[in-house]
């Protein structure tokens, strides 16, 4: 259900506006019409700052995950200084990492030359000698070279020898071999520098780890800025009148809270107008559903919210979604696991209670639907407990073909339900003529279903008068009332054209085959896991252990994959098939009152 809204138009003197909006924000009830994006430099600065905070929070979250030291130290200062410090530390950390990388590379090149002093090198060069550096594998080093050339071995290992050869001024230089680069900084100096930088990096990381335990301070700062931005945007959206002296503001508040709001407005002694919101005002949408239906609101919001004068379809798609999920999961055992996760999860994750309740009901849907084919962790109930199927021939006994037709029938039922829902809603909101075409469609779909089914099941044969009446009435309603207003020829033309929608209904019906496809493939995968586990059980000594491990991992994997499909495909059936047949337009904007964010 969509909460009724009252539209308020406030007339304020320009200087009154900031104070009034502050009070309105404290009240946290009125959704003032405002831009959601920055409108000028000030709001852009605030948005940029919020973005910066978000980036730093993300980086600190990664630090918090990676840190080993669990000690915490509360941050005493304001969020702004935490943001500044964290940004500086992250920047320093990046530079230090780059420097350390570069030093490590230099060290790798300098290590073969061992420690030396730059002064010694300079002295040799001052004497007019040119230094040539070489690194040779030990086996290629010719000891005769030491006699033939002014050669000095600098570093010698088992594998390689690093040496210098001096070029005497005025003499020709003909030493064989490829020259290496002689380091400009000795390795002992580089090692010292590297140690220093690594120590600095450690200090930086330690401080970031301490800050990462104070993300809450940054979040509060973000909320403070976000509230400021919201307030500023509300003020900036005021319609300026009388040379900017008068501000006109428009907002919406739930009608059931009008008394509370209006008593506040009376105290403020300002001029305002209030009227029930109309669809043309584009009021914000606040959904108000029963406890069960509200669990499915996040699913509906993934598509879009209804517009103000539209029917909120959440209570109508919720039971279908639950059962469709069960159809796609297709296994009582997996359903039972989801029910347990939903029930027990709340003790470990109290903040996720809403989602866990949804998981509970999705699991319940799986148990309900899977009682038809009787799948239980890839096994068949009819095989593991034959006594359960002895005195009845319905539960646990649907074969694949039964499930195939049941999926199509279930889909047709949802399509007919959606058409009837449209009919009732149109009759209430627009008049009886507007509900006739959807009723015609519902009758036509039921007629076509029974007519086709009767070709396979003789008991379903309709008597000719009933069949003819259904067909004539349905087509007449569609042709005459698809366009209930306007000249007769246009109405008939539109009515005939709308008959083309029969292809759409056929396509929608086929789309429900996915329920069967997903349920069957999931069941087969469960069966394969069991078969493999049984074959492993024959391995001597450790067979049962291996089988148990395979069963646990295999079924967890199948549950994960099947649950993903079972979550996504009913969503498609809801948003495309059900919403289309229920004449859903959507596009409403969410109710976001001006309030202080906490």
């Amino acid at each position: 259900m969509i909460t009724k809204m009252t539209k308020y138009s406030f007339v304020l003197l320009n200087e009154q506006t900031p104070d009034f909006l502050n009070k309105l924000q404290d009240l946290g009830m009125v959704d003032i019409n405002r831009q959601e994006k920055a409108v000028d430099q000030h709001s852009k600065d605030l948005s940029d700052k919020l973005f910066q905070i978000n980036q730093v929070v993300n980086k600190l979250s990664i630090v918090a995950k990676e840190k080993k030291d669990e000690r915490t130290e509360p941050y005493q200062d304001h969020g702004a200084s935490l943001l500044k410090e964290a940004e500086e530390l992250f920047s320093t950390r990046e530079s230090l990492k780059t420097i350390i990388h570069s030093l490590s590379e230099q060290l790798k090149a300098a290590e073969p030359w061992g420690p030396f002093t730059l002064q010694d090198v300079e002295k040799i060069q001052d004497m007019g000698f040119i230094i040539h550096a070489y690194i040779q594998p030990a086996r290629r080093f010719n000891p005769e070279w030491e006699k033939q050339y002014p050669l000095f071995v600098v570093e010698k290992t088992e594998k390689q020898i690093s040496f210098l050869v001096l070029e005497v001024p005025g003499e020709s230089y003909d030493f064989p071999g490829n020259e290496a680069v002689f380091p400009t900084i000795p390795c002992n100096v580089l090692q010292e520098e590297l140690r220093e930088k690594e120590a600095e990096l450690q200090v930086c990381t330690d401080r970031l780890e301490i800050l990462s335990a104070n993300i809450g301070v940054l979040t509060s700062y973000a909320n403070e800025l976000s509230s400021k931005l919201d307030l500023y945007l509300a003020g900036a959206s005021a319609d300026k009148q009388v040379e900017g002296r008068i501000d006109l503001l428009t907002g919406f508040a739930p009608t059931d809270r009008a008394t509370e709001l209006e008593s506040f407005l009376e105290k403020e002694s300002l001029y305002y107008l209030s009227a029930p919101a109309e669809s043309s005002d584009d009021p914000p949408i606040k959904l108000k559903n029963s406890w069960f239906s509200s669990l499915f609101e996040p699913i509906g919001k993934m598509y879009m919210l209804p517009v103000y004068d539209e029917l909120d379809l959440t209570p109508y798609f919720a039971p279908f979604y639950m059962l469709f999920f069960g159809f796609c999961l297709g296994d009582m055992g997996y359903g039972l696991l989801l029910v347990l996760i939903g029930l027990l999860g709340r003790f470990f994750l109290p903040k996720m209670k809403g989602y866990l309740n949804l998981v509970f009901f999705l699991g319940l849907g799986s148990i309900i639907i899977a009682t038809l084919p009787g799948g239980f962790f890839g096994m068949k109930v009819s095989e593991i407990a034959p006594s359960l199927v002895k005195n009845q021939n319905f539960l646990f006994q649907f074969n694949d073909m039964n499930m195939f037709w049941f999926a199509i029938l279930f889909g047709l039922f949802q399509i007919v339900f959606a058409r009837l829902l449209t009919a009732v809603n149109s009759i209430i909101r627009k008049g009886w003529q507007h509900g006739m075409a959807p009723i015609g469609w519902a009758i036509l779909i039921v007629w076509a279903t029974i007519a086709y089914a009767s070709t396979m099941v003789e008991d379903l044969n309709m008597s000719k008068p009933v069949s003819t009446t259904m067909l004539v009435v349905s087509i007449s309603l569609i042709v005459l009332f698809s366009k209930p207003e306007g000249p007769v020829h246009k109405r008939l033309g539109k009515g005939l054209w709308s008959m083309y929608d029969i292809t759409g209904v056929f396509g929608d019906m086929l789309s429900y085959i996915r329920l069967f496809g997903l349920g069957t493939s999931g069941g087969i995968l469960g069966l394969v896991v069991n078969t493999l586990a049984l074959s492993l059980a024959g391995v001597p000594y450790v067979g049962w252990l291996l089988a148990l491990v395979l069963l646990l991992f295999g079924h967890a994997l199948v549950l994960g994959l099947s649950a993903l499909g079972a979550f996504v495909h009913p969503m498609r059936l809801t948003f495309v098939e059900f919403f289309k047949n229920a004449d859903f337009t959507g596009g409403g904007r969410e109710y976001k009152p001006l309030k202080i964010k906490e």
């Binding site: 993300n58 993934m302 493939s521 996504v568």
Partner: protein, 152 residues
């Protein structure tokens, strides 16, 4: 025993499994690569991006399920098939293979685009999820056709 129908039927069930599996493998790699690149921009989207990357894995599963059902059906007949039964399995296998292969790759392309847009800060997870399952319907229909063409 006439072996030609049996050979044709086995080619059919191989076709159910191989191209659909290859399609899923290509599809998951395609979307997975997009996820890895997107993580550089926004590491927070990993959970949602992983779900989108996994979408294209189902075609391979449908192929496997179809293979499993048909293999069971052939075995239950002790490998004695009529030419018409074996041609039905071959045709259904061809349908499952080709449709599974193409739908997995195309589905992954939608998922990969969604992941890229999510990394750019657009909240398109729900929309991508819904759009990405559009091409999968045809793989499901192909699977259903394998089920209907099963020899009995």
């Amino acid at each position: 025993m006439n072996t030609l129908p049996l050979i044709l039927a086995y080619i059919g069930i191989a076709l159910m499994l191989i191209p659909a599996g290859v399609g899923s493998a290509i599809g998951t790699v395609l979307a997975g690569n997009a996820t890895v690149s997107a993580m550089k921009k926004n590491p927070n989207i990993f959970g949602s991006a992983m779900i989108l990357s996994a979408l294209a894995s189902t075609q391979g599963l449908y192929g496997f399920a179809a293979f499993f059902l048909n293999l069971g059906a052939i075995n239950s007949l002790d490998g004695v098939l009529t030419m018409s039964q074996s041609l039905a399995v071959l045709a259904a296998g061809l349908a499952m293979g080709v449709v599974g292969l193409i739908s997995a790759i195309k589905q992954a392309q939608i998922a990969a685009n969604g992941v890229v847009e999510m990394s750019n800060g657009h909240n398109v997870f729900g929309n991508t999820l819904v759009l990405a399952v559009f091409p999968e319907l045809y793989a499901i229909l192909a699977f259903a056709s394998c089920f209907l063409a099963m020899p009995s």
